[in-house]
Amino acid sequence: MAKIRIPTPLRAFTDGAASIEVDGGTVGEALDSLVAQHPELRDHLFQEEELRSFVNIFIGEEDIRFLQGLDTEINAADSLRIIPSIAGGRG
């Protein structure tokens, strides 16, 4: 099964888990599998059926926006990452 790495800001919605194993042959199916396991993540990742514009999904080092988006095919050995927008630093 492919894995999705969960960034710190979203771990509040995965019971603290940093990595979740998911089913599916595409990025979209993998995210569906993730959201099925942790329904509270849905609002943070999707606006209706569309991925929210500030949510960045990477396979390895590639941004899925420059592959085939949610239709990008994945295999069981792939590692997906959700890259969060974080802003801390001065305070």
Binding site: E62, G88, G89, G91
Partner: protein
């Protein structure tokens, strides 16, 4: 990668000695050190990231270093802002940082901008002959502003950002690669990502990321190595893992996809829907939403609890904060749980009585508190979205910090 400029400045005998560990390396050499002396770097923020940046860039002999900040040193800054000290608590961060930098290296010049960076002053400040801008800010509006102003003026932006145990590093230089907006076209909505003041940060993390930003700045100035242009480093301190991803230039980027002279600086607080500055006098955000939220003082809360009034006091802080300090007689319900319950109810996935909110009657008077009063106000807004009456809800001004100041001086503050 070519150097950003070809200027050089002579080094005197003492300076050659000071920088001897640099000049003996062929990648730097005497020429590279002269170039660093003729270089100018602008740091936005002298806090967590700015502390190691300012110290190492001063030590490395960057001839002119600009600092933009308007804050004063607070005791709770010292857990991570190592350029400051107990002796400068209460002083301006600029004066505190500049004094330490000049103590470390009196041969450099420190230029102080004691003002919040805004759309009105960014172009003036950025135009004062800087080679590089380094983003050490702590909020989305200022990060978008720094990016857009750098694109407009053709400056490289050495980006670093931190949250809890995670950090990000990149170099956004639109002339040679993508900008911040290519990667993050829009900010997340307010409330979705907590700030470091709310979410916390490992004190060493800005040290790790800030020193890497300083490294990138030196590489760019010397024209050596592979800069982080078009790449982003993701650092996880708990896993002690480093992962690099590609950041691609978006041809349709609304900022770096157009001629740079056409880039216009926006009202970034409006764009992000959140204030850029925790000092409200600098904030232009219309807080008419929060104006509808009523408030009470900690003395009102104390009186109500002592009198046994028919009210509910709700502590919306996170559970680990309850271990630090708590007011007796409160119901504990973290803000994220309230937000989740609200989202679930709004989306029709949950009934009210299936959520944590079943413990919060809709017809009771509610006093909500957090650490300082921000999260409790957000929580009241969430509750009002799902039918709780704003007339029955009160935000406790100043939160538990005010309680510690005015009711229970023995209570620890954090």
């Amino acid at each position: 990668m070519n150097s950003l400029h070809e200027r050089t400045a002579e080094l005197n005998k003492d300076e050659v000695k000071r920088y001897s560990r640099h000049v003996i390396m062929p990648e730097v050499g005497i020429e590279g050190q002269r170039r660093l002396k003729a270089s100018a770097v602008l740091l936005i923020g002298t806090g967590g990231l700015g502390s190691p940046l300012a110290l190492y860039l001063a030590a490395a002999g960057i001839g002119r270093i600009g600092l933009v900040d308007y804050d004063v040193v607070d005791f709770s800054n010292l857990q991570r802002q190592v350029i400051h000290g107990v002796s400068t608590v209460g002083a301006s961060k600029l004066d505190s940082a500049a004094a330490r930098m000049l103590d470390l290296n009196p041969d450099i010049e420190v230029v102080k901008y004691n003002e919040p960076l805004t759309s009105e002053n960014a172009e003036r400040i950025f135009s004062e002959d800087w080679d590089i801008v380094i983003d050490g800010t702590d909020n989305f509006p200022t990060r978008y502003l720094v990016n857009d102003a750098c694109v407009k003026l053709g400056l490289p932006n050495v980006y670093g950002s931190i949250f809890r145990f995670e950090g990000q590093l990149s170099v956004f230089h639109a002339a040679a690669g993508p900008c911040y907006r290519c990667m993050f076209p829009e900010p997340p909505p307010p409330g979705l990502v907590p700030s470091c003041a709310e979410g916390g940060v490992l004190g060493i993390l800005p040290g790790t990321i800030g020193t890497m930003q300083a490294t990138e700045a030196i590489k760019l100035l010397l024209g050596i190595g592979e800069p982080m242009i078009g790449r982003m480093l993701l650092y996880d301190a708990l896993e002690m893992s480093f992962h690099t991803i590609k950041v691609r230039k978006d041809p349709a980027c609304p900022v770096c996809g157009i001629p740079r002279e056409n880039v216009e600086l926006l009202d970034y607080e409006q764009f992000c829907g959140m204030p850029a500055h925790d000092h409200s006098e600098f904030s232009a955000v219309d807080d008419s939403d929060s104006a509808e939220i009523q408030s009470v003082t900690v003395h009102d809360v104390k009186a109500a609890l002592d009198n046994g009034d028919d009210i509910l006091v709700i502590d919306v802080r996170d559970p680990h904060e309850w271990d630090i300090s708590a007011i007796a007689g409160t119901v504990r319900l973290p803000k994220p749980d309230i937000q989740l319950a609200k989202n679930g109810i709004q989306a029709g996935r949950r009934l009210w009585e299936e959520t944590v909110l079943r413990a919060v009657p809709r017809d009771k008077t509610l006093y909500l508190h957090c650490r300082s009063g921000v999260r409790s106000a957000d929580s009241i807004a969430f509750l009002s979205e799902i039918g709780y009456d704003l007339d029955n809800m009160f935000n406790v001004e100043g939160g538990i910090l005010a309680w510690a100041d005015e009711i229970d001086p023995a209570m620890p503050k954090y």
